[in-house]
Structures are given as structure tokens and as C-alpha cells.
């Protein structure tokens, strides 16, 4: 179902991909082309629990103060609530920094994971450029923004000068057509894609999603696409905003920042960018969504992809639903759907990606369903995703997770195994005690 269209590149040089337009805007140029080194002034510079370490580096510079404090965005999310006094001290230092520098976009523990929160708060949006001290910074591309991950020292340099050099990447276009089958999600699509193209399938490249298949995808499902492209080595991943994007932005802004919602939305409408029809893509792939089946990333790499049917019955000891990849309302709803009226045979930890999601999941009754089934609910944040705390694994344990990485040691223990799947598969597998298609668990019930 994946067709490689090969190299196109016949369009006029003035026709630009979405990423090229975004980088032209943030570097103050009318046009850019792949290979150009441009100096960009990002609209947003993201950091999280690593902010204190960046501040230490920043203090080696003679600049004294952050050049554009209004462009910084800081969330406390990676180890929240702090598991040790050392982590608490780290947070305390970050608060001190944020207060001292007058950082307005500062989000306390429990608000949620940086990538989710910055979208919900409308800090990032169509047409903007975000550079972040986090490898999943491409996430915000689902709103039509440019997002790329950079290191701590580069962030310190950005705080000082407000600008950074980037190489304009070649763009890979992935055109989606048709509709996903029931029980299949964009998580399955990305695992499939990364399995086919490998963990370096898009290294140094921009990924642009296009095609009529996108219009049928919910906001929650779209964010998985751009988020997971980090696992294919992409510099950034994006798609053009459409009515689904605008409706979501409006609703989120009205909740998060009611006073400024209108003004912020107008700003996004002015800055929004769209790819040119004749833009030059270095590589084209086409995927018929209808042909995708549930997929699993097996230990210990994301590109070790298998159809669920090939690894069914693999024993699992526990499950984790959460993270910036699959900790949104739709993900929690799909788990609640499966667990309603059932008892878990295995431990299941559910951590909503943000407080807004936790609130919605509570109001919808999903949290009750999960608790009644025996699940554990955690504080919005990254949880055990990178092995810091709150659900790390024991030696020999096998975890089925909705996260984006299953590297050895990722969840804190090198002698553990992590499988990645969509949240419904995680929930169903925790009912069965082994990897299983959700339909088997639900069918069993009705039979």
C-alpha cells in the first residue's frame, strides 16, 4: 500500500513546500531552497525540565538576560510531581529563572506535556517556527507550524541572540488517501511507515503530509503523525491547516485564553502558510489508509515493526497509555471503550497528556471506566516515558506502551522489553495478559 513516487522536482523554483515557506518567513526571506543555510528567528523556543541545565550554560555567556523573554515557553513535565529532592530542586531553579526573566509562557507541574500544552494554549500555531530542546518538537507541525529539536547549548545561544542557523531541508511528501479501517489509528500508520522506511528514512528531511486522507483524521490523530516522524529522523514534519485545524484552535484558545482568543486566532490566520501546488519534493510516498492494519513496534527499536497479527499472544506484564504521542482524549476514550465493565488482568497505567485532557476524560466518564477496571491514573506529564519515575519497569518485565520509543532502557530498566502500539491494543492486551487485537476482547464479551 506504500507506493514510492520517486523524485519529482519539475516545478518552478519559485514554488515552495510548506517547510520552505515556513523557513523563508522565519528567516525574513522571500524564498529559500534546500541546502541553503539560513539564520532563523524562531517565534517560540521550547524547554522543559532541562531549563535549569540550559540556564547554567547560558550563564557562561556574557549576555546576562534573555533577548526575547516573550518567545520562551517552559513547561514542567518530564518528572512531575518531582520524584526526588534533586528533581524538586531542579524545578525550583527553573521557577526562579522564569520569574527573574519574566517568562510569561510558563506552565507548572500537572498542566501537561510541553508539545500538547503549547498547542492547547495557542503558544504555537499556523505559520510559526518553534525550536525546542526536545526531540519531539516536530509535533506542532500538525498545526501548520515548523518545529525542530535542538540541543541545550543551542537553546542557550538562542536565548542570548534570538537567532540560530539552520539548513533548509529537502522535503519528503507523504500523500494519504482514503480512510483508516475500524480499530486502526495513525499510530499504526506511523509504525508501518517507520518500519518500511527505517529509523533514518527521513534524516535531514522535512516531512509534509498531504492528500484527502487527512481531512478525515481528527486533531488528536493528526498530532500522532507529526510527533512520530521524529522516530524517522525527520528535522520537522507538517501539514497545511484546514477547517479541522481552525475549529480545534478556536475551541482550545477559547478555553485556555478566553480574553485573547480572538486576537490570537486573527494572528494565526495572518501568519498561516500553505504549500504551492507545484512545489518541488525530493521524495514522494503514497499511502492508502484503508490498507493499514494494527501494528506493533517490537523491542528494542521503533522500526522493528510487525503486524499485530504476527506477534499476538506475546505475554505482557503491564501497559502504559500516555505521552505526547498517544495520551489525548481520543486515546483515553478508546481504552475506556474496551475496559468498560471489564477487569484488567494486568496493571495498566494511564497518564493524560494534559490537565485539559484529564478534565475532559473525567467529565466524559472515561476515568471512572478506567478506575473501575482497575487502572492507575497518573499526573499529566511524561510519566515513565523516559524512565524518570512513576511507572518505571522491573528487570524482565514486558510492557505494552502507547509511547513513541521502545529503546533498551528507555523506561528505566535495560533488562525490560517495550512494545509500542495504539492505545486500544494496549488496553485490550492488559485485559488478555498478552498482545491481542481489541476486537477479540470485545467480541469475547458480547459472545
Amino acid at each position: 500500500m506504500i507506493a514510492v513516487g520517486g523524485v519529482k522536482g519539475a516545478g518552478p523554483a519559485s514554488a515552495l513546500t510548506l517547510t520552505e515557506k515556513l523557513l523563508a518567513r522565519s528567516s525574513g526571506r522571500t524564498s529559500v531552497k534546500p541546502g541553503d543555510i539560513v539564520i532563523v528567528e524562531p517565534d517560540i523556543v521550547l524547554s522543559h525540565d532541562n531549563t535549569a541545565a540550559i540556564w547554567e550554560v547560558f550563564q557562561q555567556l556574557p549576555h546576562g538576560n534573555v533577548k526575547h523573554p516573550d518567545r520562551l515557553a517552559i513547561t514542567l513535565d518530564h518528572a512531575v510531581p518531582p520524584p526526588t529532592a534533586k528533581h524538586a530542586q531542579n524545578h525550583a531553579r527553573i521557577r526562579q529563572f522564569a520569574q527573574g526573566q519574566g517568562i510569561r509562557n510558563f506552565y507548572e507541574i500537572g498542566r501537561g506535556i510541553c508539545h500538547q500544552v503549547l498547542c492547547e494554549e495557542g503558544v504555537v500555531g499556523p505559520g510559526l517556527t518553534l525550536l525546542g530542546a526536545d526531540s519531539h518538537s516536530p509535533h506542532c507541525g500538525w498545526l501548520g507550524a515548523f518545529g525542530a529539536g535542538i540541543g541545550r547549548s543551542e537553546v542557550a545561544a538562542l536565548w542570548a541572540t534570538g537567532e540560530l542557523w539552520l539548513r533548509v531541508p529537502e522535503t519528503m511528501r507523504i500523500t494519504l488517501t482514503g480512510k483508516l479501517a475500524g480499530g486502526v489509528t495513525t499510530k499504526d500508520l506511523t509504525i508501518y511507515l517507520i518500519g518500511k522506511l527505517s529509523s533514518d528514512g527521513a534524516t535531514y528531511m522535512a516531512v509534509e503530509f498531504a492528500g484527502d486522507g487527512i481531512s478525515g483524521l481528527s486533531p488528536d490523530a493528526r498530532a500522532v503523525l507529526t510527533n512520530m516522524m521524529a522516530e524517522m529522523g525527520a528535522k520537522n514534519a507538517c501539514m497545511a491547516p484546514d477547517s479541522v485545524t481552525w475549529d480545534w484552535l478556536k475551541a482550545s484558545l477559547e478555553r485556555a485564553r478566553p480574553q485573547e482568543a480572538g486576537e490570537r486566532l486573527d494572528y494565526f490566520r495572518e501568519s498561516a502558510l500553505y504549500p504551492d501546488v507545484e512545489a518541488n519534493y525530493a521524495l514522494e510516498h503514497q499511502i492508502a489508509l484503508g490498507g493499514i492494519e494494527p501494528m506493533v513496534s517490537c523491542p528494542h527499536t521503533v522500526d522493528n515493526a510487525q503486524p499485530l497479527s504476527a506477534v499476538e499472544k506475546t505475554r505482557v506484564d503491564l501497559g502504559f497509555i500516555g505521552t505526547c504521542t498517544n495520551g489525548r482524549l481520543e486515546d483515553i476514550a478508546s481504552a475506556a471503550e474496551i475496559l468498560r465493565g471489564k477487569r484488567l488482568r494486568r496493571r495498566l497505567l494511564v497518564i493524560p497528556a494534559s490537565s485539559m485532557i484529564l478534565r475532559d476524560a473525567t467529565a466524559a466518564g472515561y476515568i471512572t471506566d478506567l478506575l473501575d477496571a482497575g487502572a492507575t491514573i497518573g499526573t499529566p506529564g511524561c510519566g515513565p516515558c523516559m524512565g524518570n519515575h512513576m511507572g518505571v519497569l522491573a528487570p524482565g518485565e514486558v510492557c505494552i506502551s502507547s509511547a513513541n520509543r521502545n529503546f533498551r532502557g528507555r523506561m528505566g530498566q535495560r533488562e525490560a522489553e517495550i512494545y509500542l502500539a495504539n492505545p486500544a491494543v494496549v488496553a485490550a492486551s492488559c485485559v488478555a495478559g498478552y498482545l491481542v487485537h481489541p476486537a477479540e476482547v470485545t467480541d469475547g464479551e458480547s459472545a
Binding site: 557562561q60 556574557p62 531542579n90 529522523g233
Partner: protein, 168 residues
């Protein structure tokens, strides 16, 4: 004389940042060189940290350093005394982090199959080549801007010198 001689540690394809420097330490160990060095390659090669010597190099396959943006995956190697990482290819954030922290990174796919752990190789930066077992392997020169940063010891010393020079 720009040639330097180094002992090789050889690894495979797709080595990710979590096995280079585990995520669980990222908010408690940031700059202490001894602590960084102690955990270098902890989940890839438990013998590495105790046996690595100053000036050693890592030679690896495709996509070295994929995964997280954590800079400790670079600085733990510097703290352990590693002189350079030579690989078939690098993940892009790792590549930037290496330059920005002053760790020499060289893309040279041809040499990877030719060396194994314990071999000695010579790196000739001026001539952009590596010599192993009497054979020479060329690599592409780094762009000037990148070389500037590398030679300054990373982006922070580079920027500091620049800022002080311009009296910013």
C-alpha cells in the same frame, strides 16, 4: 603535523541516545564530568566506561545517536575522553549537538567495515582522511562555519568570543 592516532571502539547501526546515556539520569546529571563518564554507553556496552582511554574513537554504522536531543549523549563521551565519533551517518540533532559541544564527528561510511574494536587508526583532519591498516579513507570536509564552532570548542565558547569581540 595534523595526524593523530587513536584506538577504536566499534559499534553497529542505529545506536540510540537512550543506550548512549540513559534518560533516567538526564535531570540529575548534567555537567559533572566524572558522573557523565561513568554512565557513558551504559546500556550499549557495560565494559566501555571502565576501559575507555583518553583519545579513543568510536566507529559505528548508520544513524548513530538517533532518538533524544539530550546533549549528555555527546558530553558523556567527551567526559570519557573520546576524541571523535566516526559513523556511516548521524542523526541530525546528535550531529548538531556534537559540533556545538566540541566533539569531532566524521561521516565516513567506507571505513566502518574495515575496522574492529582495538584497532588503531589515524585521523588527518587537514587532508580529510582516515588511515587504517595502511589504507586511506577520505571524508567530506566540514563547512567553514561548522569548523569554526568545533575549533572554538563548541557553540558557547564560540558565541562568547564573538560577543566579547563585538562588545555586545
Amino acid at each position: 603535523m595534523t595526524t593523530s592516532s587513536h584506538r577504536v571502539w566499534k559499534y553497529g547501526d542505529k545506536v540510540n541516545t537512550d543506550v548512549i546515556f540513559p534518560g533516567k539520569y538526564t535531570y540529575t546529571i548534567s555537567r559533572d564530568p566524572a558522573a557523565l563518564a561513568r554512565h557513558a554507553l551504559e546500556d550499549l556496552d557495560p565494559t566501555f566506561a571502565a576501559n575507555v582511554g583518553t583519545g579513543d574513537v568510536i566507529v559505528a554504522g548508520r544513524n548513530w545517536g538517533n532518538g533524544s536531543s539530550r546533549e549528555q549523549a555527546v558530553t558523556c563521551l567527551l567526559a570519557a575522553g573520546v576524541h571523535a565519533v566516526i559513523a556511516s551517518s548521524f542523526a541530525r540533532i546528535y550531529y548538531r549537538n556534537a559540533i556545538n559541544s566540541g566533539l569531532l564527528v566524521i561521516e565516513c561510511p567506507q571505513i566502518v567495515a574495515a575496522v574492529k574494536t582495538g584497532d588503531r587508526i589515524e585521523i588527518d583532519l587537514a587532508e580529510t582522511r582516515i588511515i587504517a591498516a595502511g589504507r586511506s579513507y577520505d571524508f567530506a570536509p566540514l563547512p567553514d562555519q561548522v569548523l569554526d564552532i568545533l575549533e572554538a570548542g563548541g557553540i558557547i565558547p564560540w558565541l562568547r568570543t564573538k560577543a566579547l569581540r563585538h562588545g555586545e
